[in-house]
Symmetry: C2
Subunit: 134 residues, 2 copies
DNA sequence: TTATAACTTGGAGTTGACTCCAAGTCAACC
DNA sequence: GGTTGACTTGGAGTCAACTCCAAGTTATAA
């Protein structure tokens, strides 16, 4: 249960095997340990890292930036910690504004859903003069 | 103020001129009206549409899906409205789950920021936790 | 009048993030 | 010992979404 193949790791993380290999190729993931016959073996930490990457990615962070961030986290140098703090804080703020933007878009859609529900449900009603974007 | 060039439209919307032309090329935007000398002229509606597109885009909608959505909005057929409602609702739900995911990632980052604040700053110099955050 | 700048077009090139492929290796089962 | 199937590698191909380019046109300024 602890050590698993790339296939299992793919199932667990939702990434494809190719994507995991690709991430290793571009040094986003560290080179996975191999077993005697040269195959990749993953543990819980590896999975955790992959999942964390998917989170940052869905937050709109590019792989390049994620890589930089992770490189800081591997630094032994204590100075790196403060640099990482800056990056983290920046990213956190970026995330906050992105969430706000999505919530705004969400509001627009919600408003439109309401509008169209009104239009669709009572069948007698027709869409009157639509403000059709030209 | 009402009619403007592609350059001004680009500044107003945050899109590049090339991107606006590209959107027209792939029929995401309708062919802009041209002036006597064949140059694109944009009005307030056009800008509004572009901004709306950027919102949907930042909500994770692909240009292809946005295009489909806009094609429905141009339909005179009232049946299109219900189809559009379905699409909107789907998109709204997708947005909700995306927001939730971002909030989860945000939490992780926040947690890490706290951790690194501890590591980096001598305890006594640390900013006090705000009791009344703005 | 000529130079400059702001556009126009179709099409080619770039980037990021995969996704697929061919050829080879290895372990396990028949 | 041979076949199967899950892996390995480097590299090529794909896709969305731009981004840039060359060649041509038009309007204004010097």
């Amino acid at each position: 249960m602890e050590a698993m193949s790339i296939k299992q790791a793919a199932v667990r993380t939702g990434l494809s095997e190719d994507t995991i290999r690709y991430y290793e190729k571009i040094d986003l993931l560290p080179r996975a340990t191999r077993n005697r016959s040269g195959r990749r073996v993953y543990g819980a930490d590896d999975l955790e890292l992959m999942v964390f990457i998917t989170h940052l990615k869905s937050a709109g962070m590019s792989l390049e930036v994620i890589k930089y961030y992770l490189s800081l986290s591997l630094e032994k140098d204590p100075n790196a910690a403060s640099e990482r703090l800056v990056l983290l804080t920046e990213q956190k703020e970026l995330l906050e504004s992105k969430i706000a933007e999505l919530q705004a878009a969400h509001k627009v859609l919600e408003h439109k859903v309401e509008h169209y529900t009104e239009v669709c449900l009572p069948e007698k009603l027709r869409p009157q003069k639509e403000t059709t974007p030209k």
